[in-house]
Amino acid sequence: MRLTCPQCGERDRREFTYLGAAKLLDRPKGDAGQAAFHDYVHIRDNPAGPLRELWQHEFGCRAWLVVTRNTVTHEISAVALAQDVKAGKK
């Protein structure tokens, strides 16, 4: 599997580590209550198909990435820097 890091270009999957669905970007406010945090921490849509997910280019530039990848075919359709996604740039 190859991921194209916006900073580094196309690299082998072994340079990256996987965290999980990109919903982890959306941490609830501290006072949002336990139900909101439970959902944030534990619940996953886990689709068979395209999934937005978080990877880190750990052995590379160390950027956190939002990768859109199909969980059935492993096809990667988009990669963006997580900080850009948060900033609404991507």
């Binding site: 900073q7 580094c8 690299r11 072994r14 280019h57 052995f59 590379g60 530039c61 160390r62």
Partner: protein, 186 residues
């Protein structure tokens, strides 16, 4: 009691080493300083670095040489400046408030792999495409190197390999193995 003197010890031992047409050398600069601009400070920092080194901060994936040293892209929003002794202090002063500056002179070891087999040696240790078209001179990449984190540069005649200091012995060991293997296969 006699005046205390601490002797410096290099992490790189057992070099230079040659096998076939390839040579491995220590290439440690006097100083390596990390420069991480604060938010919105990239231009200012780049300009300041330029005044001191002769070049500013290169784009991702590149390094640039100035009269006073080399500036390497080293990761997301992060650069290494390699230059003369005392650089860390100077840059700290120069970039106060604009960038996070840390001395990394002792944190990393820089090796140079030079010669005809260097590409084949790299191919045995590193998942990067180091062919001339993809990774021409002036390129810098953070990548994996024999299960270690590394910063690889394309330099004249070969490659610069930077690993964290504690990994130096391992890196040299793997490089020597690969060099001998490549030499045996020509």
């Amino acid at each position: 009691m006699a005046e205390l003197v601490l002797h410096a010890v290099s992490a790189i031992v057992g070099l230079p080493f040659s096998a076939g047409g390839t040579k491995l050398l220590a290439a440690q600069p006097a100083a390596i300083v990390s420069v991480v601009p604060f938010k919105g400070q990239f231009e200012t920092v780049s300009a300041s670095v330029k005044t001191r080194i002769g070049v500013g901060l290169p784009v991702a994936g590149r390094y640039a040489d100035g009269e006073e040293g080399r500036v390497l892209w080293a990761g997301l929003g992060q650069w290494f400046v390699a230059g003369s002794d005392g650089l860390a202090g100077e840059l700290s002063g120069l970039l106060t408030g604009n960038a996070a500056v840390s001395d990394q002179s002792d944190g990393w070891s820089l090796l140079a792999l030079i010669g005809t087999g260097s590409r084949d040696v790299m191919a045995r240790l590193c998942p990067l495409d180091v062919s001339g078209e993809v990774f021409p001179e002036g390129s810098a990449a953070r990548t994996e190197f024999a299960h270690m984190m590394a910063l690889i540069t394309a330099i004249p005649g070969g490659f610069g390999i930077m690993v964290m200091r504690s990994f130096t012995t391992t890196a040299v060991h793997h490089l020597k193995d690969a060099m001998e293997s490549v030499a045996a296969q020509v």
